[in-house]
Amino acid sequence: MIDAFYIFTKGGLLLWSTQLVKVKGNPLDRLIKEVLLEERVGETFATLDVYNLKWKLLNDMDLFFVVVYQGILQMAYLEGLLSMAAKEFSHHIATSFGGGLNIKHVDFEKDFLRCRQKADKELKESRKPGGMRSFEDTKKGADVQKNREEKGLPAPAKKGKSGGTDGDKEEDDEEEDAAVAEARAKLAGGKSKAKKDAEAPKPKKGKEARHWDGGKVSKSLMEELDFSKNKPDEADLAAKQAEFLGSGDEEDFEAEVESLSSGSDAEEEKKDDGRVGGLFKSLTKGVKNITGGAVLTEGDLEPILKKFKTELMTRNVAAEVADKLSDSVRKSLVGKTTGRFTSMASTVKQALKESMETLLTPKKSIDVLRAALAAKNAGRVYTIVFLGVNGVGKSTNLAKVAYYLKHKGGLDVLICACDTFRAGAVEQLKTHSRCLDVPLFERGYGKDPADIAKNAIAHAKSNGHDVVLVDTAGRMQDNEPLMRALAKLVAINSPDLVLFVGEALVGNDAIDQVSKFNRSLVDLSADPRNPRGIDGMLLTKYDTVDDKVGAALSMVYVTGQPVVFVGTGQKYTHLRKMQAKEVVKTLLG
């Protein structure tokens, strides 16, 4: 059913992996570089080539679990499998995790097989008539977890009574009871006591747990096909977590574990100890918010993120982008412990700052002049196509780029007038051409722009021009026929750089514009296997936006492409490169 499964750390260690079917290419590498490193951690699913990937992040351990498959699989099944594997795995490495650097490879074959069989079985059961249960359970489990995280309550030890495997319960009961009793004594016996216990290392109990564990493993080897065996693990796990995660960490961890199983009695228990513990919790949490060392929960993050989100939106970041970004930051922070003397708000701000800086740092060279010079050295003509909606300043900024390439790089530039649509467009370029003393290639109005560009490039080749700058007619992103014509121009001439020109002052529309232009180009690419979209953006009127620089972030987020230039005024010299750090500083106020 699934093709492969990977477990790795954020630091870049592949701790365990299996390929049930040989995986072609390297979807995992693409996932890391194109999704996870692009601040899209907020999502948990991606399609890359023929593969679908779904993943889970255990924040407190900086561990990623990734399942790779083809075709369609039930999300609940995948989530179940990921959660089970995550639980089993953290159980497996509990005693020696040590900040994540001490475990380099883990033998996880057997446990994974068990997880898979259990998930398969649950799936089968959910398909039986009246077998909606496992779905219900997962949902309920998730709710319980959410609830708990919001209230900051520790999860009580679980009785292994619920869950979808009624069949083989009795045999385990004894074992379970002992384990549950032990865990209860620790966790449910009063919050403060559980805390103290967790703070002091308790080698004795830990050791016992391990012995017991050893016995269980051999047992589970014998009964590999018995899926219900993981129930005692939970209690065992609880004991271990308390041992190695130390104070404060266990709640979330428990919550994580809890989400895997149904929670009817878990819920009841929670209600009992809610009150008193809740007050104590909120008090300590308040202290920790000042002194640091608080474990972040969804409930803590929500109001803070909301505030930042509003702030971003007032600075013109598109709502959708602000949403996704804060989702991503939330996912990467839940379960983390705040640093020493760092409040939650500043932790969130720092995370947001880093993630925006990462986004705005180009992932490829944006040195146009260097690329043009390299092309010249290689005896090629370097072509840039400028495109965008009407009236954003395409021609003016094209002229600025011409000036830059000519005066700073000593390049021989040719301007090509492909706006054969709007009256006066050619004349406007003529004026620039005269002011800049740069030749203009034009064929008047009404001709096919794709052909004109082609001729211009040929002309440049035979006349020793180094660079061709192609101006195109402004068009609305919804105008199908015009977008098609544009895609044709790009497909036929395959320019070195396709620059989207947009106004720095657009808000929510930025996304619509840039994504539709990009989509049109990609859909109508000359080579569908290697689609060609927008390569970068030029933001105009950047001098007029004050602190509302959000469009830069929106456009970069949507396209994944960098802002190559910003236009800052009317003069030819008013062209700059964008400084990621400045933008972030402005956006965060």
């Binding site: 630091g11 570089k33 650097l101 380099k104 260097r370 400084q579 750090k581």
Partner: protein, 258 residues
């Protein structure tokens, strides 16, 4: 512990609140005073640091994606081969460096940072520069196309204000020398020099308002020489993390932490 209990007892009687609340209050007061002390201390020490900056104390590992930084990090630390994926986050650890085969020397504890190579992380990598005592720059000797990116990164590093001020030594470690198709140190250095030469035309031509970092490297009209024209000492070497041929790294670290 006893004093705390006494203090909380007095608060208990003074305010007439329950014992657990009093305990919490006591802790609160203690933590608050500790916090303030630390803040004052930090401000004070920060003030003195700023007047005369000196290099930090970590060994910073940089290089492109797939150059072998993570592999080298764990080789240095544990002498083990590991399986890796592209790093999303830096790894940092303090550990003793054994001087390889002829281990009569060793360093008791060196803090090493393995910084992810993804281009999006480059800005953050520069933020680490003040912390660095030295830089080990790993290059994938087999990947010629990537050398363009390497050169670009070097241009940024060598014109970075922190580098200009701190002169942090760089070791260019040409990794994967075990592969038959690996290029020589000489080839790699020349390729970087050639690319930088092309780049300085475009970089030197600063756009208006660009920061100072994008300034001219080397001497106008002369060929660019990495070893001569850099603001910091640069050495090169050949290693293989896979085959555990790491002696040059140990030698470099001994020199830097001597």
């Amino acid at each position: 512990m006893e004093t705390i209990r006494q203090a909380s007892g007095s608060i208990e009687s003074f305010l007439g609140v329950g014992s657990s609340t009093a305990l919490v209050l006591t802790w609160l007061v203690i933590l608050l005073s500790v916090y303030i002390t630390v803040q004052i201390f930090q401000v004070a020490s920060g003030g003195t640091l700023r007047t005369r900056r000196s290099r930090g104390n970590v060994t910073l590992m940089l290089g492109q994606c797939g150059a072998g930084k993570t592999a080298t990090f764990f080789r240095l630390r544990d002498g083990e081969e590991v399986q890796t994926v592209s790093s999303l986050q830096l790894s940092r650890d303090k550990f003793p460096i054994k001087a390889g085969e002829n281990a009569d020397q060793n360093l008791p504890s060196v803090e090493v940072v393995d910084f992810p190579g993804h281009l999006r992380m480059r800005g953050k990598a520069s933020d680490m520069l003040p912390e660095a005592r030295c830089i080990i720059y790993l290059v994938d000797s087999e990947d010629k196309p990537k050398l363009k990116d390497v050169a670009e990164h070097f241009y940024e590093l060598l014109t970075h204000p922190d580098m200009l001020e701190l002169h942090t030594p760089i070791l260019i470690a040409c990794n994967k020398s075990d592969l038959g198709s690996a290029r020589s140190e000489k080839f790699i250095v020349e390729e970087i020099e050639r690319e930088i030469e092309q780049m300085r035309v475009s970089r030197g031509a600063t756009l208006e308002g660009q920061d100072q970092a994008d300034s001219y490297l080397g001497i106008d009209g002369e060929k660019f020489k990495l070893m001569e024209h850099s603001p910091c000492p640069i050495q090169t070497c050949k290693i293989s993390a896979k085959k555990n041929e790491m002696q040059p790294l140990y030698d470099f670290l001994m020199e830097q932490y001597a």
